[in-house]
């Protein structure tokens, strides 16, 4: 079903006429009402929209945590819209990296162990040492070398979110999904996190993130506006905005 696109970019996410209806007693809530969305490899998409517009619902389906009521969803050339629980778990493990607003790290578990966790559930052929090395490399990518042994309670919010990003990266997924990743962070730390996402995207990672804040969304390359379960507007950002530049703004220069 993937679009045969000669020499064009490869589609990672292809969503057609997606509908999600929640049944609340007598009332049917159409959380998604016919969404079409294609995300190509290497894109950095921000999904915006008012509260209750269906952003998280869309994200849960893209992340294979949930199934649509109708419509199709092809992820990385595989139709995942009718998959069973276990099949979706395997897809989540192999193809998707999640970053949540509330970090969702395991408490009383070191940063390294948190990052290792997805590999424990994977068809990971390597030894324990390989696994630890992969986790260490992922932590290194988000700038957390030296913090491997820290527990979440011993890390700042920004650092915790970096651990979560490292955990999302460790399986080399096809897409990284982030639902309001900066919602619990101050603006400076938010920019740091966006900087990491930009770095990842520069190195080829496909990223989809949800945010309320236009300032955050502007660091993506494309903004999709959702309203009442429909895509209302889809815009490309032409002018690159480097998150790190924001941090290095004149008000608070930071030695790096």
């Amino acid at each position: 079903m993937a679009k045969p696109n000669f020499n064009g970019p490869k589609a990672v996410i292809e969503i057609r006429d997606l509908v999600k209806i929640y049944h609340l007693g007598e009332v049917d809530v159409r959380a998604l009402d016919g969404v079409d969305l294609t995300v190509n490899e290497g894109e950095f998409v921000a999904i915006m929209g008012p509260s209750g517009s269906g952003k998280s619902t869309l994200m849960n389906i893209i992340g294979c945590l949930d199934r649509p009521t109708s419509g199709t969803y092809v992820l990385d050339a595989k139709d995942v819209s009718r998959m069973s629980r276990d099949q979706r778990a395997i897809i989540r493990n192999a193809k998707i990296g999640f970053v949540f607003q509330s970090f969702n790290l395991l408490a009383r578990t070191s940063a390294l162990e948190n990052v290792e966790l997805p590999l424990l559930y994977a068809d990971f052929d390597g030894s324990t040492r390989d696994r630890k090395q992969a986790a260490r490399d992922a932590l290194h990518r988000v700038g957390l070398e030296g913090r491997e042994a820290n527990h979440p309670s011993q890390l700042s919010g920004g650092q915790q979110q970096r651990v979560a990003i490292a955990r999302a990266l460790v399986t080399s997924p096809a897409i990284v999904l982030a639902d309001e990743p900066t919602g619990n962070l101050d603006s400076r730390t938010s920019l740091e996190i966006m900087g990491i996402f930009q770095d990842l995207n520069d190195s080829g990672k496909t990223i989809v993130l949800i945010t309320h804040e236009p300032d955050i969304a502007r660091h993506a390359k494309r903004i999709v506006h959702v309203r009442d379960g429909k895509i209302q507007q889809d815009e490309r950002i032409m002018q690159d905005r480097i998150a790190r530049k924001g941090i290095e703004a004149p008000i608070a220069p930071v030695a790096r």
Partner: protein
């Protein structure tokens, strides 16, 4: 194949970490199993110890031993003793004379008294018996000699001391030839029995004095009838014959028609052993019942805590599912955790149970036998309980919806 083993190992590690993180709670959770398994260990140890010491005790009665007691046996097999003994020394003599399958015969009458030797005194049981007593009980004389037929006939004031009595009254030796006073009657010590050793529930077999039954009846107990008659069959094959012959003879002598209620009853060594085995079996079943109840309670405790744990860790389960844990991963994690808890509980229970059993042996002086089988069984039972009672909470965890679980506060 290799992958699935690795994965199983990984899940195992995941479960172990959760337990290590909640040490105190894990311990409290396992407490029910600890107590249940300790119960199993202690009860089996006591049961086995009692069984062993009872069989030792019965074997130490001598070989082919038969006891003839006054009283009737009811239909249920219980013994009823209705007042005075009906057995006489003439009965004993008649058995000796007329029952060919009987080897040795001795009247046996008993009383308890305080025995004084010089400054020392000792309370013990006095057994009045005939000269064939050592043959029946296969009990040898260590020092001196047993009393004679003449001593029995004349009611001589002679006594043979059990080893414990001799050691207590004559700590520096020289018992033979000395005088002991039993109820103020002076008895001359003619011999000391060899040590039998072995005690049954704290009672010491060597704590007794043997004297001619005539003397005991006349001087000490004042009874005219002998308490019971002890007999050994001529051979192991003739035990039943001996019992049949004695039954016929005593019925005839006591003028009891065949089929009528006899005023005496008999027990062979084998019957006593069986009765005891039955009693021990009963006790074991009772203890087993207690153990089953406590293990079930322990299992329910594990189920309860695992359910609490699943609820508390709903978010953790959601995170694990979001990053790729399948239902069976979560199921295995919680199942493994429950089994680890129960097996750790089993381990503590074995240690605790062995400790308690040893304490019982030291303090109450009950015999104890700790068998490796009991320990293995306790472990297997603990693991099974972990699987059985851990399954429901683990399944519940594995069926959680990842989105709901992630949203759980």
């Amino acid at each position: 194949m290799r992958n699935s083993i690795v994965r199983l190992g990984n899940i195992t590690v995941v479960g172990l970490k959760s337990i290590a993180r909640n040490k105190m709670r894990s311990l409290l959770t396992a407490l029910g199993i600890v107590i249940g398994v300790a119960c199993v260990i202690v009860s089996v140890a006591i049961g086995a110890g009692v069984a062993q010491s009872v069989s030792e005790m019965i074997n130490s009665l001598g070989s082919n031993f038969i006891m003839v007691m006054p009283g009737t046996s009811t239909q249920s097999g219980a013994r009823m003793f209705t007042g005075n003994s009906t057995l006489t020394e003439e009965d004993a003599e008649a058995i000796k004379r007329e029952a060919p399958a009987v080897g040795y015969v001795s009247p046996n009458t008993r009383t308890a008294a305080q025995v004084i030797a010089g400054e020392l005194n000792w309370s013990t049981s006095i057994q009045g018996v005939g000269v064939e007593w050592p043959n029946i009980r296969s009990w040898n004389i260590d020092e001196g000699s047993f009393f004679t037929e003449g001593d029995v006939r004349s009611g001589a004031k002679v006594a043979v001391l059990g080893k414990t009595v001799a050691d207590n009254l004559f700590p520096s030796g020289g018992a033979v030839g000395s005088i002991v006073r039993i109820k103020n009657v002076p008895f001359k010590v003619v011999g000391v029995l060899e040590k039998k050793g072995g005690s049954m529930m704290g009672s010491d077999q060597d704590d007794l004095i043997i004297a001619p039954y005539t003397t005991v009846m006349k001087r000490l107990s004042g009874q005219s009838k002998i308490g019971m008659i002890i007999v050994s069959a001529a051979s192991a094959e003739q035990v039943q014959d001996a019992m049949d012959q004695m039954d016929a003879l005593l019925r005839q002598r006591h003028r009891i028609p065949p089929g009528g209620d006899a005023d005496f009853m008999m027990r062979s060594q084998e019957e006593m052993a069986q009765a005891n085995a039955q009693q021990v079996g009963l006790m074991r079943n009772l203890l087993l019942g207690i153990a089953i109840v406590s293990l079930a309670v322990g299992g329910i405790g594990i189920m309860n805590i695992m359910l609490v744990s699943v609820t508390e860790r709903t978010r953790e389960i959601g995170i694990r599912m979001a990053i790729g844990a399948r239902g069976r991963h979560v199921l295995l994690q919680f199942l493994f955790e429950a089994v680890t808890l129960s097996v750790l509980g089993g381990l503590l229970g074995v240690l605790f149970g062995v400790g308690v059993a040893k304490l019982i042996e030291r303090v109450i002086k009950w015999p104890i036998v700790i068998s490796p089988q009991a320990i293995i069984v306790a472990f297997v039972v603990a693991a099974t309980i972990g699987i059985f009672f851990g399954f429901y909470p683990a399944r519940k965890a594995s069926k959680l919806d990842p989105i709901d679980a992630l949203r759980y506060e």
